[in-house]
Symmetry: C2
Subunit: 283 residues, 2 copies
């Protein structure tokens, strides 16, 4: 059983509910963030908090809790969820995902923001199937760019709307492009490898914390280029991969009908995944 | 006190709540519709139902209730809300607003749709202040176009995000334009009057039921043009107005720094508002 926090109260997640006049429900006005714990500790907490705060500020929503208070809630939920999940005397902490959701709050006229609602949930982590790391994934191109992509708003309509098209193509996700410029996958960032160059889009993207971590880890072995990336650059890429908190470094071996490199998971993607896994192991 | 329906249960609206794993909350995946009753009867019920059904189909969400079952729920809520609101032996029904919300439903992995959640709420009607019909309203131009505008998704982030800019300009709303083409206001359609021509955008808009009603009512007195409308056409318009279920026919007399016509509410706008009010009076 996992626990959550809603506006000051803590309860098992399946007992938490939000009133039906909330602006996220009525008007799509909400933002969120998501991170994991490793060894019971929130991964890159400072960076996630900074991004959450930035999203809130960009959407003009005052944060009901400060950083330290929020951290205390997070650790409280880690402990409660761990106590509830453990059936034996396990010594190692069970890691969880954390979802923060900040909404426009309850609104009498269904348009005016009065006071935001804050939800913090501990969740089971849904790991990516191992076979996807061995074979890489297929994605399909989608002519789309996220509105206010740099803000982690709750607007993820597009990928749900395209679920059937993704399944029909036997793909795992969408790769967004607009006017020939690549931005990101539906919920993760995108990288290309060409020789010792690591190339990743810098516009119309969510600035992923895993992306930032990988760029740091790559500094000594790659020439990192954060810049506009054109569709045409896919054709001579050696490798491609996507990054997110749950995907870590996940190879992309096919994009629509195009095979990336030789179609196998490449050594540079493996190398960066290993670096990342070493970092989190010692977190 | 107003009543609402949620997945089969009916209760006062302030007692209705939705679980926190709903995809409208987590991913902005939801759609809605809104209409009024006149003389206790849903206005243009057939058209609203058709649009709601169409939005649901476009977002791949199966409707949990059929048309007749839904109508029965609506009339049940009208009666309950009326009984609860009445303090004396009033004979005339109190009219209400109805909000239908259909969401992606609860999702264990926060992305997959399993079964939609359906919410139907009776609400108090928030009438437009009379002075706005006498003086007309000011709107400001916004370089924006709604994603999937023809679907009444819950995505109304933009107008909430721009609330401060609207206030600062002493305006009432936004008029969206992209590349010099006008689409709509944030929650209502847009019309121009030039001589005996009634002109309204036909693309990137929500196909408003009040818009459709006005076009019907205007047939015998106007030449109606549904087509692309350019920003440049604002300069020689005689009148402008906006339509929605709550705004009916609301004159727009100023757009940013531009005064429309002579800056007063024009006779054609008044004429169409009168025709509309006659129609609903006899509904």
């Amino acid at each position: 059983m996992y626990y959550g926090y809603f506006n000051g109260a803590i309860a098992p997640t399946d007992q938490l509910a939000i009133g039906v006049t909330d602006l996220s429900l009525l008007r799509g006005y909400g933002l969120f963030d998501y991170f994991l714990t490793y060894n019971g500790r929130p991964f890159q907490w400072d960076w996630y908090w900074e991004r959450f705060q930035n999203s809130a500020s960009r959407m003009h929503l005052p944060l009901p809790l400060g950083k330290d208070e929020t951290y205390a809630v997070v650790m409280n939920l880690v402990e409660r969820s761990n106590n509830a999940i453990r059936t034996s005397g396990l010594a190692t902490p069970i890691d969880v995902g954390f979802r923060f959701v900040l909404t426009g709050g309850y609104s009498a006229d269904s348009i005016s923001v009065v006071r935001p609602n804050l939800l913090i949930m501990a969740e089971p982590i849904h790991p990516v199937p191992l076979v996807q790391y061995e074979l890489g994934i297929k994605v399909i191109l989608d002519d789309y760019v996220r509105e206010m992509a740099e803000v982690k708003s709750t607007d993820y309509k597009r990928v749900i709307l395209m679920a059937e098209a993704i399944r029909a193509a036997r793909a795992s996700d969408l790769l967004y492009q607009k006017g020939g410029e690549i931005s990101e996958l539906s919920r993760s960032n995108f990288f290309l490898v060409k020789g010792d160059r690591l190339i990743t889009p810098d516009k119309h993207i969510l600035h992923g914390i895993t992306r930032k971590t990988i760029i740091q880890l790559a500094q000594s072995d790659f020439k990192v280029e954060e810049r506009t990336v054109l569709l045409s650059e896919l054709y001579d890429a050696d490798e491609a991969f996507t990054t997110s908190s749950t995907k870590r470094v996940l190879p992309v071996t096919q994009i629509g009908d195009l095979t990336i490199g030789d179609g196998h998971v490449g050594p540079k993607s493996k190398f960066l995944l290993e670096r990342f896994d070493e970092l989190v192991k010692a977190w």
